[in-house]
Each structure stands twice: as structure tokens, then as C-alpha cells.
């Protein structure tokens, strides 16, 4: 059976176990005088039997599905005649793909050497076998463990406590999965970054002011020596993020103040969802809006003023990104301002303060830490934003602070480094990982600061 089908079968078995556990607990309770003589409700006995049936079986299924491929490969390689034994890892994977192509019929057997054809047959047989073993094992585990869970049902058994603690572990496992995924990403990026620093010096990467990752693909190719200085990229990112925040923070904050303090219920009910819709527009749409509408407009405007402006400018990308980020700032600030207790507003108004004085002197200072947290989260969004800058900011790694010039950002360079055919051990490709790691570090630090500020703020009112 395929793993997916087997999963369904296991689910059916779990449901059966639930039903059996439920009825067994009821029938055990009958002679005692009803279910109130059970330690827990019949639901919990059923759930306990179901957990016994399901969890071990699913673990076995998951482990088998995870490792069967690798084990079968090893067995197939191991059975090859000595003269066919692959010398390196690369050869092994080539050979394996050839074998599996033959096995699947993509490569007619006539085109392959006899040992390969043999291996392919072997592969098919092993897969068949593995599927059988897996089916038998999983069903057997489900039935046996389920039976164990079922037969152990006693009226005195505190099934509820057991189910509760098992559920706690299941929830923990889900949370751990998210954390482990993050850790996995960090490690994979970290290892590639370390490999990158084996090829390019630490000093050049952090302090180099020139970025041109065009390295030779082959040893005999004539090409420029690549330069991997990340300074122009980070200044580009900072420039665009700063422009974005210059747009997003005032507009977002002031609209949050308007919505939370001045707007009537009806206006708020219309404007707030509309404003939040900005966050729902795909960034690629913002991207071509920036590239096709805003950037030409800015360069024409600059030209009419006699200023030299590039057709792809940091200003266009940053401005459009700022508009995209407005809802982040306004939504979070709105929440924080609304969280300031009404009693503080009343207290200030009752002293004869006007609405704007109340805003300025009481509500804003009280909400400031939360607003700062929101702004920092928006900054990390701006730093990580890719699509708009890919389309509107350009690719030239200029080291400039002029917003009318074309700049490039870390994210844009990661995209260009990794798209197309690449060798996965050249400095060029590995540079993408190093840049990713730096970006990750920067946003991580910003997020930590933001969370810290938000948390500190929360303590103040509770």
C-alpha cells in the first residue's frame, strides 16, 4: 500500500479503536450502576484507546516512509558487481538516477548496461517488498497497541488525565516542529555561510565596497575576478528601507491616530478595512506599479526640474514599499492606541484638555513603546521585502545615498545569485547564503528589540 493509503487505513483503525474503547467503558460501567461509576467519561476511554492505536502506528509509518528510500538505495548499490561500484558520491547519484529511470520505464532497458537493468529490477522488487513490510508492520502495530489500550480499560483507570497529558505532548510536538524548522533553516544557512567564508575573506565581505559576483564558471574562462563586498548592498537596503519608513511611519501613525481618536464609528468601519487591504495586495503588483508608473514619473519629474535621475530609483522602490507598509504601522499603532485605557482619556478631557492635547500629552506617550514595537516590525518587513525592489530598484550595486540613483539591495542580489543555472559550490552561489544569513541576523535583532519593547509596554498596564 502507498503511505497515503496506509495513513487512511490507520485513521480508520483509530476511529474503530475509539468506538470500541467507548463501548467497552460503558459496558464495564453497566454492572456498577452507570457511567458515573467510571473515573472518566466514556469519551476519554475511547480517546485513550484511539491514541494507543494511532500514535505508535503513525510514528512507525513516518519513520518507514522517511528511511525506506535511503535503505533501498544502499541495498541496490551494495548489490552491484564490484566493477560498477561508484567511486564518488556524484557518480553514485548519477548511477542511481539511471537505475530508477530504467525501473520507471523512462529509459528503455536496451539503452542500459545489463548490471543496471538487473539493479533496476532489484529496485522495483525491493520497493514492492518494502511497501508490503510497511503495510503489515503499521497495521500490526496499530492493532496490537490499540488492543493493549482497549484491554487495559478499567473503571478505576483515570483515562482523562492520561488523554490530557498525551494531548499536551502532541501540542508540544507541534510547537517544537516550528522551532525545529527554524533551527534547521538557520543551520543550513550557517553551514553554507561558513563554506562561503572559506572562499572569500571575512574582511572583504564585511568591509568591501564593491560588489560584482561575476566569477568564472570554468577554469579556462576569461572573466573578471569577482568582488564580494556587501557594503553597497546593505547601504542600498538601508536607503530603501529608510525611504519606505519615511513614507510609512508618518502616514501610518497619523492615520492610526485619526482612526482611533477622531473618526466616527462609521468612517472607521469603512476606512480601516480599506487601509488594511493595502497589506493584501501581492507585492508583485506593487512591484510593477513602482517600476511602470512611479519610477518613470519620478525620473520625468526630476528631469523637468533639471535634476539627473535614473529610470530605476531608490525613491520609487522605497516610496511604493512605504505605501505597502502603511497598514503594518497603522494597524499596530491603532491597536496600541486603543489599548490605552479610556479612563486616561476621560481624565485628561475632564481637566479641560482638548482632544489633540490629550493625544499629544497622554495617549501618545503611553502608547509610544507599543508604537515603537510596531515600527520596528515594519522595518524588518521593509528590509526583507524583495519583489518591489527587484522590479523597481535595479541591479547596479552603487554605493550612494542619492535616492534618485539606482541602487540594489541584499534581497535583490540573493534572487539574482540563485536564479538560473548555478554551480552549488561556487563563491557566487554561496554568497547568497552569506547575504541571507546577514539579513536574517539583522531582522532577528530588530525583532528581538521590537518584542522586548512590546513586552515591556504590556507590563505597564496589567
Amino acid at each position: 500500500m502507498q503511505p497515503a493509503n496506509l495513513f487512511l487505513v490507520t485513521i480508520v483503525l483509530v476511529l474503530v479503536a475509539y468506538g470500541l474503547g467507548y463501548t467497552r467503558s460503558r459496558s464495564l460501567a453497566m454492572p456498577l450502576g452507570g457511567i458515573r461509576h467510571l473515573k472518566s467519561l466514556p469519551f476519554y476511554y475511547g480517546a485513550r484507546a484511539a491514541l494507543w492505536c494511532g500514535i505508535p502506528a503513525l510514528i512507525v509509518l513516518a519513520l518507514w516512509a522517511m528511511f525506506q528510500g535511503k535503505v533501498i538505495q544502499l541495498l541496490v548499490i551494495g548489490s552491484l558487481p564490484p566493477e560498477m561500484m561508484p567511486a564518488s558520491e556524484g557518480e553514485a547519484s548519477l548511477l542511481l538516477s539511471k537505475i530508477s529511470n530504467v525501473a520507471s520505464g523512462a529509459l528503455p532497458p536496451g539503452f542500459a548496461e545489463p548490471p543496471v537493468v538487473e539493479a533496476a529490477e532489484r529496485l522495483t522488487a525491493l520497493r514492492q517488498q518494502s511497501r508490503w513490510y510497511m503495510t503489515v508492520l503499521v497495521v500490526a502495530v496499530a492493532v496490537l497497541a490499540g488492543f493493549f489500550g482497549w484491554v487495559r480499560i478499567r473503571p478505576r483507570l483515570n483515562a482523562r488525565a492520561q488523554v490530557e497529558s498525551t494531548l499536551k505532548w502532541i501540542f508540544f510536538a507541534c510547537a517544537a516542529l516550528a522551532v525545529l524548522t527554524t533551527a534547521g533553516i538557520i543551520f543550513s544557512v550557517a553551514f553554507e555561510t561558513i563554506r562561503f567564508f572559506g572562499k572569500v575573506s571575512f574582511f572583504e565581505f564585511f568591509f568591501g565596497t564593491s560588489w560584482s559576483p561575476q566569477t568564472a564558471l570554468r577554469a579556462d574562462q576569461v572573466a573578471a575576478e569577482g568582488a564580494f563586498g556587501m557594503v553597497p548592498l546593505f547601504t542600498g537596503t538601508l536607503l530603501i528601507s529608510a525611504i519606505a519608513m519615511l513614507v510609512a511611519v508618518p502616514v501610518g501613525l497619523l492615520s492610526a491616530i485619526y482612526l482611533s481618536e477622531y473618526a466616527s464609528k462609521r468612517v472607521r468601519g469603512v476606512v480601516k478595512p480599506l487601509l488594511e487591504m493595502l497589506a493584501g495586495i501581492p507585492t508583485v503588483v506593487y512591484g510593477f506599479f513602482a517600476a511602470l508608473t512611479v519610477a518613470p514619473f519620478i525620473s520625468n519629474l526630476a528631469a523637468s526640474l533639471g535634476i539627473d535621475a535614473s529610470s530605476q530609483s531608490a525613491l520609487a522602490a522605497g516610496g511604493v514599499m512605504g505605501i505597502m507598509i502603511i497598514p503594518f504601522v497603522s494597524s499596530l499603532s491603532d491597536d496600541v492606541i486603543n489599548a490605552v485605557p479610556q479612563t486616561l482619556r476621560d481624565g485628561s478631557l475632564a481637566l479641560g484638555a482638548t482632544q489633540s492635547e490629550t493625544m499629544k500629552k497622554v495617549i501618545f506617550p503611553a502608547a509610544l513603546p507599543g508604537i515603537m514595537g510596531g515600527i520596528l516590525l515594519a522595518v524588518s518587513r521593509a528590509i526583507g521585502e524583495t519583489m518591489i525592489v527587484v522590479m523597481a530598484a535595479g541591479l547596479a550595486a552603487n554605493l550612494t545615498a542619492n535616492p534618485l540613483e539606482s541602487v540594489t539591495t541584499v534581497t535583490v542580489q540573493i534572487v539574482t545569485l540563485l536564479t538560473g543555472d548555478q554551480e552549488f559550490d561556487s563563491a557566487k552561489t554561496l554568497a547568497a547564503f552569506a547575504l541571507g544569513a546577514m539579513l536574517f541576523l539583522a531582522t532577528l535583532i530588530l525583532n528581538v528589540i521590537a518584542l522586548h519593547i512590546v513586552r515591556k509596554y504590556r507590563e505597564q498596564y496589567d
Binding site: 464609528k265 476621560d346 481624565g347 481637566l351 484638555a353 506617550p365 503611553a366
Partner: protein, 298 residues
Amino acid sequence: MSTMNTLKPAVDKEVGASRDTVVPAHEERPESAVIEEAKTVGKPFSDDPKFKLRNVEVFYGQDRAIKNISLDIARNEVIAFIGPSGCGKSTFLRCLNRMNDSIDICRVRGSLLLDDQNIYDSKRDVVELRARVGMVFQKPNPFPKSIYDNVAYGPRIHGLANRKSDLDDIVENSLRKAGLWDEAKDRLDATATGMSGGQQQRLCIARAIAISPEVILMDEPCSALDPIATAKVEELIAEMSESYTIVIVTHSMQQAARVSHRTAYFHLGHLVEVNETNKVFTAPEHELTESYITGRFG
């Protein structure tokens, strides 16, 4: 005033003459007691009124929360508003400094005069009104600032002090009047939210009197305080009654009896009875008042 005094509750009133006289069936009260609109028992009027309130009605959307109330609040008196929850006493109090303005659906009708000037005049400056009519709330609500800045908030907004030393004097005086100076003088820079509940409430009183209002409205000022803090605030009210007009809403009849000169009893948006406090508590004229103060409902 004399005409109102002679009015007695109309017992044999025609049922259904006004929708307000139809009382919900679940309302627990003596059969004979009927509230007649705008017929307040006792002495609702005064010769020297600070507030002159006539035919006041407050609506929340379609609901009439205050039903045609007429009342005078005399200069330098302490008047207590009592009544069961939801009877409109807080709503009525909040009309006196227009704190109801911030509620969109709230409308006020009738004539409300402070020193013969209309409170709800469209040209009326709310800022000036609230500077004259201060307010202390149910829950202590100091700003998350220092003790000093809390008291200095009002004077700064209204530009009452030109120099730092003037402001210092105002802060010290206000804290002294609120009986908080000795406890607070060494930690004026500490945040106000770190004080105890009773101290916070007295700080709010100090904050209110820092702008020298003429009237202080108190909306259940002791309901969040322990008995000792309550006693201190009540003492303070007694002292302040010499220089301010004080309107206090309270759920505690003992408190009304202790601090007020006159007591007004509200019921379902009606002002049922107003009289000298000792009279209300010893010889209430209206059956509803009697039922309430003897604890038959509330």
C-alpha cells in the same frame, strides 16, 4: 420651590397615560408607588443655584436614559446622587461637564445652566467649562507620568503658571489640599501608577483641584478603595466643601449620609426625591426612596 414641595406621589394615576409610567413587570417595588414624570418630591430647587437644570433629558440612541429632570445644585453644597445601578445618576453627572460629548449616540435636551450660562450652548467652550467643573472618576486614573507631572498637567495646559516656582507652588498646594503632600513630597518624580489605590485617588483629586475649579464632580470616587482610604477621601470632601460645590455619585448610602448636605434619589432615569440628607434618610417622602434606603431593592 414651594409648588414642588406640596406635590405628593400620584397614586391613582391613569395607567398608560405616559409610556414612562408603565413599569416593567419584573421591577420589584410596592404596587402603589408610581413615578410621575417631572414630579420630584422634596426640595429640588435652591435660592442660590450654581447649576440650574430644567427638564433635562438624555438619550442614548433611542433610549431615554434621563427623563425630564429638574434640579438646582446650590453654591458650595455637597449633593449626593444615590439610586440603584443603571438609574442614570452617572449619566446625569456627566452632563454637568459635558463628558457625554465623547459618546456618539448620546444627546442631551433641556436647559442646563452653570451660573446662568447654558452649558450646552453650541458656542460654549468645553475646555473652559471643564476647567471650571472638574471631575474625579470611579477608578483612580492617574496618567502614567510622575506624581508632579500628574498634578502639573492641568495648570500647564491652561497656562496657569509662568514660572517653574509658580508651578511648584500650585503642585504643593494641591497635594496639601488633597492630604497627599506628606506622603508624596519625597517622591514627586516617582511614577504615579506605583502608588496605592487610595493615594492614586487622592492624587486625582489633587489633579482636579490644581486648576482651581468651582465645582468638583465625583463619580463613585471610593468604590475601588478600602475603608481606610475611603475615610480619608470622605474627610477630604468635608474639607473641600468649604470652597467648592461638590456633586458625588455613590452606591454607599452611609457615605451619602456622612458627606452630603442634600441627597437626590434617582430611579430608572427619574429624579424621585431630593431633600436634606438627614431628611431623606430618616423620613423619606416617596415610597421608592424608602424602599431603597431600607434595602428592599438596589
